[in-house]
């Protein structure tokens, strides 16, 4: 136990001494990690923020049921009852024809055009939110509702919402892809740096091995140092992301408001932050472990 503790304490001291010898280099390394991680992190946060804002402003896909021209209140009630009973419908809202015109005016960017129209050509409508947002499920619900008596037309949501959803889906996929790529890059980067560090300290490693040090003894300071640099890089990424979010708040707000949403940017949750820092540290440690092991294997082969 004393021996175990002494070994760990010594590894920390050794790592600290090496860090003190090349602080600039380590700082640059943490910066690089921070910048690389900041990109997918930002993308993820942006997607989440925009997605949330879109959800609040009702930008998730909806089906609009237009009633036949001149429908009366009982007919509308019949449709409302049907919608309430339908298992695939999450919620629905009755849109009187005046409101429909106002919405067309605002949300579709045709403000004063509505004034040009002779009277209000629109019928009453229902705005329906489906439980399942999958395009196929949406389409089948739309087709079913279109066949109901009293429904003149059933439309999937207007183009802009689909556009936003498509953009969000693409961005989400991109964020996931980039994160996977990034994990690889982090490991490779930590590997490259640790390989160089091991080459720099080759005499120290060789002499320690000659004097009976185990591979783990040699590896430990490298891994500890990588853990620290990785964590620092992750923290830097969080800071950078926070800075960018603040800078992007204004243009993003403008963008989202164009889509009719309310908007306020949220940073990562504590859990997300912990995952970023911990993930970076672990990936860096993995890379350095691999590099140190590779160095040891090669050195042992050369010495034998």
């Amino acid at each position: 136990m004393r021996r175990w503790l002494a070994h760990r304490r010594l590894a920390i001291t050794t790592a600290a001494r090496r860090a003190a010898r090349a602080p600039l280099s380590l700082l640059a390394q943490a910066l690089i990690i921070g910048m690389a991680v900041a990109l997918p992190l930002l993308l993820h946060l942006t997607v989440q923020n925009v997605g949330r804002a879109a959800g609040q402003s009702g930008a998730d896909p909806r089906i609009t049921l237009f009633l036949a021209a001149g429908s009366d209140a009982p007919a509308a009630q019949a449709i409302a009852d049907r919608l309430a009973a339908h298992p695939a419908v999450a919620s629905h809202r009755h849109v009187p024809r005046d409101e429909a015109l106002a919405e067309l005016r605002e949300r579709h960017g045709l403000p004063d055009l509505a004034d040009l129209l002779p009277g209000n050509p629109l019928p009453d409508a229902f705005s329906v939110r489906a439980r399942d947002l999958d395009p196929a499920a949406l389409e089948s619900l739309r087709a079913e509702a279109a066949a109901w008596p009293g429904v003149a037309e059933a439309l999937l949501d207007s183009a802009w919402a689909r556009q936003l959803q498509a953009a969000l889906a693409f961005a989400r996929a991109l964020a996931i892809g980039l994160s996977a790529l990034l994990a690889l890059v982090l490991v490779a980067s930590a590997f490259a740096v640790c390989a160089l560090q091991a080459a720099r300290d080759r005499e120290e490693i060789a002499v320690s091995r000659l004097l009976g040090a185990s591979p783990a003894f040699v590896r430990r300071p490298f891994v500890y140092l990588a853990l620290a640099v990785g964590a620092a890089g992750g923290t830097l990424a969080l800071g950078l992301a926070a800075l960018c979010l603040r800078a992007a708040d204004v243009p993003l707000r403008a963008l989202v408001v164009l889509y009719g949403g309310e908007f306020s940017l949220a940073g990562p949750t504590p859990l997300e932050a912990a995952a970023v820092v911990g993930g970076c540290a672990l990936l860096a440690a993995l890379g350095s472990w691999l590099a140190a092991s590779a160095h040891l294997r090669r050195a042992d082969r050369a010495a034998a």
């Binding site: 021996r3 120290e204 320690s208």
Partner: protein, 231 residues
């Protein structure tokens, strides 16, 4: 302590050791002599388990080294090694160099520091703990490396040219230190060109030439018994 049987080693085409049979008992003091390139360093490396001989049997402290790729850590940690090129770590302080075997053995920091300081004092380098090896003269560097070889009280001390960088007076002091180690129970094997060792009656003299033992002269006055009277 050490049993060699038909040990041979070839580096590629070059033969460095060519059928060495040698028994060294516990507590013996052996000097390996011979011209440059005779195989002295290679023989010491074989005994330390750093080089696996291409043929023959090497048993050190009961462990058969020819079988294993590298000596087990416990054995490595019982050996004290002084390399011909010293193998000092230039970017560590003197004391950090000396305490390395203790660090590897997991000796706690405070104890390691104290024992390393004591070892430095034994080679007459007290008070220079914080200097780098480059700040020592050639002879001082050699003593520094020697301090590292004895700091953990090894049962077997293998020293390659421990006096190469020294004048006669310093060399004598180092030999006395090695005799003291031997007297305290360690087995000592050194490779040396130093002519002063040849006349030392307390050591067993083994002479190598072209990888073969050409002379094996026992100590006329065994170290353990003789030490108090002679030193």
């Amino acid at each position: 302590m050490i049993e060699l049987e038909g040990v041979a080693h070839r580096y590629g085409a070059a033969t460095a050791l060519d059928g060495i049979d040698l028994d060294v008992g516990a507590g013996e003091f052996v000097v390996l002599g011979g011209p440059s390139g005779a195989g002295k360093s290679t023989l010491l490396r074989v005994m330390a388990g750093l080089v696996r001989p291409t043929a023959g049997r090497v048993v050190v402290s009961g462990q058969d080294l020819a079988r294993e790729r590298r000596a087990a850590p416990w054995l490595r940690q019982r050996i004290g090694l002084l390399f011909q090129e010293l193998a000092l770590l230039e970017d560590r302080s003197a004391i950090d160099n000396v305490r390395l075997p203790l660090d590897i053995a997991g000796v706690p920091g405070r104890t390691a520091r104290e024992r390393a300081s004591a070892a430095l004092a034994r080679v007459d380098l007290a008070g220079r703990e914080r200097l780098r090896p480059a700040q020592f003269s050639g002879g001082e560097r050699q003593r520094l490396a020697l301090a590292r070889a004895i700091v953990h009280g090894p049962a077997l001390l293998l020293a390659d040219e421990p006096t190469a960088r020294m004048d006669a007076a310093s060399a004598l002091a180092v030999f006395e230190l090695l005799h003291a180690q031997c007297g305290a129970g360690a087995t000592v094997l050194i490779a040396s060109h130093d002519p002063t060792t040849i006349d030392d009656v307390r050591v067993r003299h083994v002479r190598l030439e072209r990888g073969r033992i050409v002379e094996d002269r026992a100590a006329t006055c065994p170290a353990r018994v003789a030490r108090p009277a002679e030193a």
